[in-house]
Amino acid sequence: MLELIQTYWLYFLVGQYPDGPLGGVAVTVLLAALALMLAMPIGLLLGLARTSTVAALRRPVSALVYLVRGIPLLLVVFWTYFFLPTVTGVKTGQFTTMLIALVVFDGVYLAEIVRAGIQSVPRGQYEAARALGLDHRRAMARVILPQALRSMLPSLVNQFVSTIKATSLGYIIGLTETSFIATQINSQVFTKPAQVYLLLSLTYFVLCFGLSRFAFMLERRLARRDLPRVARSPGSPTASTAPTA
């Protein structure tokens, strides 16, 4: 196993870079980070629409959330892969395809996190802001969202973990991310599939477990700070990362 690591560690981390395209763990992390960042503004807008009192805003977004959660992410990847070129006329690369699919996926999941975050701020805060003469937009932007975003932080880190795991779907469309590189290494070594795939699993584990412990720590710290406000609603943002039934 050590020999395996010694021979392939660089290939595993960055792929053929700088002689070829970037690959391996670097692509996994880069793709996940980019997707989450690009999805943030989308998630924020969708989340605001989902909590809006205007039905014309709320309903289509709710429908979109049900649609994206009701089908496998792999299907979103396939739709993007096969149909984006027919719409734009340009062949989309694997990285861009995965990025677009992940932004859609993250946008919808972030919308739910934002919604839960907004709903976790006590209503009195909004009413107080309005009573002080702020209009709806200012009340949201200056009073509700700053508090909601803070309580969303652990969920955001957990969403990053989900995104890292989701990038592994790039394997299916031939993107040179970690799982793909591991399979390449496996076919070169040929005799040690168990070791190769255990190392692959270990890599994901270190990355994701580290981040989820970080999220857990953030959550504990925020809970301590919020102690006076004991009565947290059951729909606190951390509980609702899983789809609500």
Binding site: R69, I71, F83, L169, S201, Y204
Partner: protein, 231 residues
């Protein structure tokens, strides 16, 4: 894009492929949920056990499984694990229908980790005095769980477990990476044989969506029919 050919989905060879894929996806989902539930209950009980060592085992299981993507699980069970067995058994495995077995093992272990967490938080939602009262009346740990805590926890747990089942239903699509002929695999097959990608993907999208929405509706109905009792 050429016109949408509905006839393609209603009869003929491509129809047969897609329907075979749908049936295999349903079968995989059914087998996995049947195996994952008991395993998840066992792990949840481990995590709540009165001994530290047992709790550690439960914690390790959940964290290790959850923090590794499903694809890595399936690649390991299909390509990696048989390598650890003697050659004779390995050959027999690959000669048979090992794709299905590997997918079922990987998915079961994966889904059980998430379901165990749902069950555990359902159990923890029941006030500890209920558990203490059970023990004080002379019931054992297991008897208290079975007779007092679990019946109440079930109401809290079933809706999130159904949401988890929706995720499981969608996750069966990942089995395509190890070449199992489920729905996603068949759609890709139809696409490469006929270039009729729209028809194939519409069929698959509608099928997954129908399954997911039915489960979501069931969860909502159960939640209304057996609401959580506040104590």
């Amino acid at each position: 894009m050429p016109g949408f050919d509905l006839a393609l989905l209603l009869h003929g060879q491509y129809h047969d492929w897609l329907v075979a894929g749908l049936l295999l996806s349903l079968k995989l989902g059914g087998v996995v949920i049947a195996c994952a539930l008991p395993l998840a209950i066992a792990i949840a009980l481990l995590r709540l056990a009165p001994y530290r060592a047992l709790r550690a085992v439960g914690f390790a299981y959940v964290e290790v499984i959850r923090n590794i993507p499903l694809i890595a699980h399936l690649l390991f069970w299909y390509f990696g694990a048989p390598e650890l067995l003697p050659d004779k058994i390995k050959e027999r495995l690959y000669a048979g229908n090992y794709e299905f077995v590997a997918a079922a093992i990987g998915l079961t272990l994966y889904a059980a980790a998430f379901m165990a967490e749902n069950i555990r938080s359902g159990i923890r939602a029941i006030p500890t005095v209920q558990f203490e009262a059970g023990r004080a009346l002379g019931l054992s740990f297991m008897a208290t769980m079975r007779r007092v805590v679990l019946p109440q926890a079930l109401r809290v747990t079933v809706p999130p477990l159904l949401s988890q089942t929706v995720i499981l239903w969608n996750d069966t699509s990942i089995a395509t990476v190890i070449g199992l002929g489920e729905m996603m695999y068949q759609a890709a097959r139809v696409e490469s044989a006929s270039f009729r990608s729209t028809e194939a993907f519409v069929f698959v999208t509608v099928s997954y969506l129908a399954g997911s929405l039915a489960l979501t509706a069931l969860a909502a109905w159960i939640h209304r029919r057996w609401p959580v009792r506040t104590l």
